[in-house]
Amino acid sequence: MAYTEEELKKELETKEYEYGFYTDIESETFPVGLNEDIVVAISKKKEEPEWMTEWRLEAFKAWKEMEEPEWANVQYAKPDFQAISYYSAPNSKPKYDSLDEVDPELLDTFKRLGISLDEQKKLAGVAVDIVMDSVSVATTFKKTLAEKGIIFCSISEAIKEHPELVKKYIGSIVPQKDNFYAALNSAVFSDGSFCYIPKGVRCPMELSTYFRINQAGTGQFERTLVIADEGSYVSYLEGCTAPSRDENQLHAAVVELIALDDAEIKYSTVQNWFPGGKDGVGGVFNFVTKRGLCEKNAKISWTQVETGSAVTWKYPSCVLKGDNSIGEFYSIAVTNNYQQADTGTKMIHLGKNTRSTIISKGISAGKSQNSYRGLVQVNSRAENARNFSQCDSLLMGNDCGAHTFPYIEVKNKTAQIEHEATTSKIGEDQIFYCNQRGIDTEKAIALIVNGFSKEVLNKLPMEFAVEAQKLLEISLEGSVG
């Protein structure tokens, strides 16, 4: 069926957020506000050892001195940090051994989201560590992983069970004082995932976590720590959907990846949080710090598909410390209506023969603003560093904006850096060609956008690629102006 452009635009604008519903589960929620007592209370609640409490307090002290960053190309009403409750856990504790024991209402939520646990278990072979609000409620496939010596659990569990690993690596890549939101996260993180792959082990399945923000007025502060020991390999997936809310919700996560010698980590994200209504009300604030460290011959690959959130502020980075290490960044960021995204990457070349690739595709529609902000830094001792960056933007309609802020700093003469960026719209001739071949405009746009994003979509694991393609279609079809 052929739509006219107007109809398509209208349909797109009126398209309600598909996953917008709210599950009523009694939550154990802390009083709003943030002070030292709350930090200590969170730590106590999680039965954490003293060093962890100290670590949190240190972060809190630093955070108090810091100011919210303003350099990003986004505008929003600043969250009131004293009006947020910093801890909320689904009530139905303790942990379950099987899915049958899980609160049926919770299971229903997952079903409506299309995450059928048992189905996924069987079909996809994915171990899912579901974070509902802040506490892990279900962990599957743990046994299979345990046989290989792989530790995959919530971070609070890891703090209790594997303190030596956590103590050694937490904050090593993203220090407590790294930035405003990282400091806040370090002080109040409620839960998150922890993953350790032992020497020489290739993780047999894709590890994944579904993040959800459920409780009204609850900020969610995830902390993820992935450690790939020498010669190991892991592919980690992270995907998210959040219920529709009018109030802005804050999400300040920290992800730290450590790839030791010869290890490889592949970290993929599909983010589809509530982007706010079509008039720009509500939506999630996504202020994330993600960073990975590569030792000798190690490789870290970030892949992200960002379609949600009202405001996104996210720069997955690689510190290429070891010689011959590789960093990759593949990103699609889609913004529609009043969404704002300021996202990109940092590639810090420290070791010799380090290589990095950046492929960023920005698609903006509606009244949205989409920015790429990236840094490629080659230090004086990074001989033969190699970088290739490409950032392409696609504009749909005349009310949106696309911006690129690439910083390139080179201090070594043997470096080879290439950077290119283009901005364009979907050509009328391209659409005409498709029409001529019997493909209607709507399909043609989906086709072209898919082609535009293919380089990145190809990098996603199978399970995600399908979901990501679907998301792109929902967000964009018919937006051509």
């Binding site: 504009l395 005349n398 390139i408 950077h419 283009t422």
Partner: protein, 438 residues
């Protein structure tokens, strides 16, 4: 007393020597207020992230030059494009040198800012153009506005073209231990007018000089302005060049910047496209060594539809040199069918040289073609080897390749004598004599 305080207190002394009742002086008073508020830019500001003015602020600059120092033409002849006849507007230590200059009022006005600002016959034009496009809140521009008194004034009426190119040359003689110069130029090309300008700043001794220059260029419908900046100063001279260009329908403005010297050079080029079918062209060759620092900041603001902009900057950095390129393209919502291209290629030839580049696009219109490309690399070893097998020594082979690298930019220089001059400068800078003209 730091430089800022010194400047502010000198403003009162400055007021004794100018007509404080003129509207121009209102602009000055406003500007000094702004400067007082803002002060010198610091590295904390995004636009000055890679360039620090701290060390310059520690120098005790003389703000008002003493009497003009007479120079012999034969001593400074080599700094002019002396192979051809040109109009010349020459300043020595900031003071106009009638002896070295050749101005005209024959159909076109090629003369002095000081007379344009004070004589009633120019008042109408000054009212319309003076300080209209220059930034009112960029601190160094406001500093220049506050002390604006002298510089070049060029007015080309409708459908006129000066008979020969115009050279604007600033000499500093080292009469003062350290000197701050603030020339202010105004260039107006009316409908269908065309002109060529060559600008140069030259120190004659090793005494410290800081030049904070502002040039406003107005190109009316169909006008063509060709502007060449030759920056090959001594390593004790610093230059902050702020150029503001306002373009109307179908006009073409080209600015070529050749940066081969100086201690610290900062070029702020700002283009505002207030019309349709405009073409703005910015090209640059930078070849640096020692501890030199060059910062190219360009801004092209596409305000109206169907315009183009082209930027092409080549840089070769050796020894401890630092290069910065920050190109910004803004495409407004209504500026559909804009074509904006930006290219920045760099070669690092030393381990201690640094290049920081940030090609930036801000696009609000959908039917546009905008792209930027940026590379940092080295000379191709295979090509070098090939040239050597053909009997060309390594040093010359390298120079040939670097020359070829920069040649794109040189090709569009429309004054052959200037092109030859630049070629010589490049050969000298690369330390070779190829036995033929490059």
């Amino acid at each position: 007393m730091d430089l800022k305080d010194k400047l502010i207190s000198s403003f009162m002394a400055f007021e004794n020597n100018v007509d404080i009742d003129s509207p121009v002086h209102d602009e000055r008073s406003e500007a000094i207020k702004n400067f007082e508020e803002k002060g010198f830019p610091t590295k904390k500001e995004e636009a000055w992230k890679y360039t620090s003015l701290n060390s310059l602020q520690k120098i005790d600059f003389s703000i008002f030059p003493k009497e003009a120092n007479a120079l012999d033409y034969k001593d400074v002849k080599k700094y002019f494009i002396n192979e051809i006849d040109t109009y010349k507007i020459v300043f020595v230590d900031g003071i106009y040198s009638s002896f070295l200059s050749e101005t005209t009022h024959d159909g076109v006005d090629i003369c002095l800012m000081s007379s344009a600002l004070t004589k009633p016959m120019y008042k109408q034009i000054i009212d319309v153009y003076f300080n209209k496009i220059a930034s009112k809140d960029e601190s160094l521009t406001t500093l220049n506005t506050a002390f604006s008194r002298e510089g070049a004034y060029i007015y080309i009426p409708k459908s006129k073209m000066p008979k020969k190119p115009i050279e604007i040359v600033h000499f500093s003689t080292g009469n003062e231990a350290s000197l701050l110069l603030q020339p202010r130029n105004l260039i107006i090309a009316e409908e269908n007018a065309e002109l060529q300008v060559i600008e140069r700043h030259q120190s004659l001794t090793e005494n410290e000089v800081l030049t904070n220059s502002v040039t406003e260029i107005f190109a009316a419908k169909n006008a063509i302005v060709d502007y060449y900046k030759v920056q090959n100063d001594l390593s004790t001279a610093s230059l902050v060049d702020n150029t503001y260009v306002n373009q109307k329908d179908d006009s073409v403005v080209k600015v070529h910047t050749f940066s081969f010297g100086g201690k610290l050079t900062r070029n702020n080029l700002n283009f505002y496209q207030n019309g349709e079918h405009i073409d703005s062209i910015m090209k640059g060759v930078t070849i640096l060594g020692e501890k030199q620092h060059v910062d190219h900041h360009t801004l092209v603001h596409h305000i109206q539809p169907n315009c183009e902009s082209h930027q092409d900057y080549k840089g070769i950095y050796g020894e401890n040199a630092t290069g910065v390129f920050n190109g910004k393209i803004i495409v407004d919502k209504i500026a559909q069918k804009t074509n904006a291209f930006q290219q920045n290629n760099n070669i690092l030839v030393s381990d201690k040289a640094t290049i920081n580049t940030k090609p930036q696009l801000e696009i609000f219109a959908d039917d546009v073609k905008c792209s930027h490309g940026c590379t940092i690399g080295q000379l191709d070893d295979d090509a070098l080897f090939y040239l050597q097998t053909r009997g060309i020594p390594k040093k010359e082979a390298r120079a040939l390749m670097m020359y070829a690298f920069a040649n794109n930019v040189l090709e569009s220089v429309r004054i052959p004598e200037l092109k030859a001059r630049i070629n010589k400068l490049i050969a000298k800078k690369l330390g070779v004599n190829l036995g033929f003209d490059l």
